[in-house]
C-alpha cells in the first residue's frame, strides 16, 4: 500500500472486509413486524427498554451524578470575556476584557457530542458593529447560531438549514420575543429529529438569546424567550417539544456539556505562551487536560482542579509553553467505574 496516496483505498478495503464479517439475525423481518405490532397495540405508552427510554434513564443518572459536584446554578455569559476568532486573535488572552475588537464578541451555543447525549457547547463569534442594542445583539447572536456553522466541526446546529431571524423585540420584563422564519420544520424534517435533539435545540436558542444581553449593574439582562414561528406564537416545535409561553434556561447541569475547552478556541493561532482555560461541571470538580502535538505525541497531561468562576461552571486556567506547530487539546475525565477515559471536548490550534 502506498501510504501517501493509498490510505483511502486501504480504508475502503478495511471497512469492506470488516462489514463482510457481520451477518444478520435469521428472522430479523419477523422481529421488525413484531415490534411494529407491539407498537401499534401500545402506541400511547412509552416503550420500556427501547433505546429512547434507556437514553432518558441514562440522562437522568448522569444528571444525578453531575449534581453531586455541587457546581450548578444559572449559567451566565460575559460577552467580550475573551478574544475569540476575531480580527486580532493573537492579542486575545483569558479574561481579555477591554481587548479592542472590530465588532462585538457574542456567545453562540451549539450542540455537540457528550458521553450520554448531545449537550450545549459555546463559542464566541465576532459580529459587526459595536454598542449593539439588546435587540440587535439577540438578533445577531441567534442569526450566528442559525446561519454560521460552528468553528469546531464536532459541534452542530440542529435547526433547519435556511432558518433565519425575522425580528426581535424585548419587553419590560426582559423577555425577548424572537420570530424565526424557515425554522418550523415540516414532515420530512420532523422525521429526522428526536425529542432529545428538539429539547436541546430549544435550549440552544434560549441560551444563545439570553447570553447576548447579560445582566449588568443597571440591567437584569434577559429572563426568557418567547418563540414565534413565521410570525405566529409557537406551541410545539417539530412535533416533539412544547414551546408555548416564555422559555427559560434549563439547569446548566442538564444542558451544558460537562467540559468546555474555552481557550484556545478551535482553529486559533497564538503565541508560544498558551493560556488554557477550561470550564466544567464534573464530579468533584476534577478533570484532566492533555495536549498532543501534530504527530499525536502527548506533550502535556495533568489533572486540573476546577474552582468556582463567574458562571455556573467551575473553571481552571493553566499556562503552557509550546514550540511552534499544530496541537490538539483535550479535556477528559477518568471514569470512576472502570478507569476508562471519557473525552468531552477537544480543540485544534496552532502555535507560532
Amino acid at each position: 500500500m502506498s501510504r501517501d496516496t493509498g490510505i483511502e483505498e486501504a480504508l475502503r478495503r478495511a471497512l469492506s472486509a470488516e462489514a463482510e464479517t457481520v451477518e444478520t439475525a435469521p428472522d430479523a423481518l419477523g422481529a421488525i413486524r413484531g415490534r411494529i405490532r407491539a407498537r401499534s397495540r401500545h402506541w400511547w405508552v412509552p416503550r420500556p427498554g427501547t433505546p429512547r427510554g434507556f437514553a432518558l434513564t441514562m440522562a437522568g443518572a448522569a444528571a444525578a451524578v453531575v449534581l453531586t459536584a455541587g457546581a450548578v446554578a444559572v449559567a451566565t455569559d460575559w460577552p467580550g470575556h475573551r478574544g475569540g476568532p476575531g480580527p486580532d486573535p493573537g492579542a486575545s488572552g483569558p479574561s481579555a476584557t477591554g481587548t479592542p475588537v472590530a465588532g462585538t464578541n457574542l456567545p453562540v451555543y451549539y450542540l455537540g457530542p457528550s458521553i450520554v447525549e448531545d449537550r450545549l457547547y459555546r463559542e464566541f463569534h465576532v459580529v459587526p458593529g459595536t454598542r449593539l442594542s439588546p435587540e440587535d445583539a439577540v438578533r445577531a447572536a441567534v442569526q450566528q447560531m442559525l446561519g454560521r456553522p460552528a468553528d469546531d466541526p464536532d459541534y452542530r446546529n440542529p435547526w433547519p438549514a435556511g432558518a433565519k431571524v425575522d425580528s426581535v423585540s424585548i419587553d419590560g420584563a426582559g423577555v425577548a420575543t424572537v420570530d424565526l422564519v424557515g425554522a418550523a420544520g415540516g414532515v420530512a424534517f420532523d422525521a429526522t429529529v428526536d425529542e432529545l435533539t428538539t429539547r436541546m435545540a430549544v435550549q440552544e436558542l434560549v441560551y444563545t438569546a439570553t447570553a447576548a444581553v447579560p445582566a449588568t449593574a443597571t440591567s437584569i439582562g434577559l429572563s426568557g424567550v418567547r418563540l414565534l414561528l413565521d410570525g405566529q406564537p409557537a406551541t410545539t416545535l417539530w412535533g416533539r417539544a412544547t414551546v408555548a409561553g416564555v422559555l427559560q434556561r434549563a439547569p446548566a447541569a442538564d444542558t451544558l456539556a460537562p467540559i468546555w475547552i474555552i481557550d484556545p478556541q478551535q482553529g486559533m493561532r497564538q503565541g508560544r505562551q498558551v493560556q488554557v482555560k477550561v470550564a466544567g461541571i464534573v464530579y468533584e470538580a476534577t478533570m484532566r487536560l492533555r495536549v498532543r502535538d501534530g504527530a499525536g505525541v502527548v506533550v502535556f497531561d495533568q489533572p486540573e482542579h476546577l474552582k468556582p468562576g463567574p458562571s455556573a461552571q467551575y473553571e481552571a486556567t493553566v499556562a503552557i509553553t509550546l514550540t511552534p506547530g499544530q496541537y490538539t487539546i483535550e479535556g477528559y475525565v477518568i471514569s470512576e467505574r472502570d478507569g476508562s477515559e471519557q473525552v468531552y471536548d477537544d480543540h485544534q490550534f496552532t502555535v507560532g
Binding site: 486501504a10 480504508l11 433505546p51 441514562m58 457530542p113
Partner: protein
C-alpha cells in the same frame, strides 16, 4: 445501495417495510455495525429505523427518499446508542483482534493493516468517523452524507479531510 423502485408511492406501510427490508436491511446493519463496532446493537438500531419508517410511512410524501430516511435514522440511532455508556465502553474496547488467517503472508499483512486502520478509525471524533464510514463503506456522495448526518456539505468535506489526515498519521507512525 440500489434506488428504491418508483412504484413505492403505491406501497402500504407493511409492503414498504417488507420490500425495503429485502433490498437494504443487511447493508444497513453492516453500516450500523461499522458505526457502532457492535453487531447486536447494530441490528437493534436498524430494526428501530424500520419501525419508525412504518410509523411515518403515510407522512413520507416522497417514498423514493425512503432509503435516505432509513440511513438518517440509522446514523441518528447509532449516535444515540453510542451515547449510552455500555455501548460506548464496548466500542472503545471493542476492536476484535485480527482474525486467524490462512497461511498466505500477504493476507495476514492485510488483516493486520485493516485492524490498525479500523482501530485508528474508532479513535476519531464521532463526526469524522461517521463521515469516513458513509463515504468509504456506503459510497455516499457528499450531499447524501450531509443529509444522513444532518450537517452541511462543507462540514462533510472538513470532517473527511481531518479524518483521513489523522488516519494517515497513525498508519505512518505504525509503519
Amino acid at each position: 445501495m440500489a434506488p428504491v423502485a418508483a412504484e413505492a408511492d403505491r406501497w402500504t406501510a407493511d409492503e414498504a417495510v417488507t420490500r425495503l427490508f429485502a433490498a437494504h436491511y443487511r447493508q444497513l446493519v453492516r453500516l450500523a455495525a461499522l458505526l457502532l463496532a457492535d453487531a447486536a446493537a447494530a441490528e437493534e438500531v436498524v430494526q428501530d429505523a424500520y419501525v419508525r419508517l412504518h410509523q411515518h410511512w403515510w407522512r413520507l410524501r416522497e417514498p423514493d427518499r425512503a432509503l435516505g430516511y432509513l440511513r438518517t435514522s440509522v446514523v441518528n440511532g447509532a449516535r444515540s446508542a453510542l451515547r449510552r455508556r455500555s455501548v460506548a465502553q464496548r466500542y472503545a474496547a471493542g476492536l476484535r483482534p485480527p482474525p486467524d488467517m490462512p497461511s498466505a503472508e500477504s493476507q495476514h499483512l492485510d488483516s493486520v493493516e485493516n485492524a490498525t486502520l479500523l482501530a485508528a478509525l474508532r479513535r476519531l471524533p464521532p463526526r469524522q468517523r461517521e463521515t469516513l464510514v458513509l463515504r468509504y463503506y456506503a459510497d455516499l456522495s457528499e450531499a447524501e452524507i450531509a443529509e444522513a448526518m444532518g450537517i452541511s456539505r462543507g462540514a462533510v468535506k472538513s470532517h473527511a479531510a481531518r479524518g483521513i489526515a489523522a488516519l494517515r498519521q497513525t498508519v505512518e507512525r505504525t509503519s
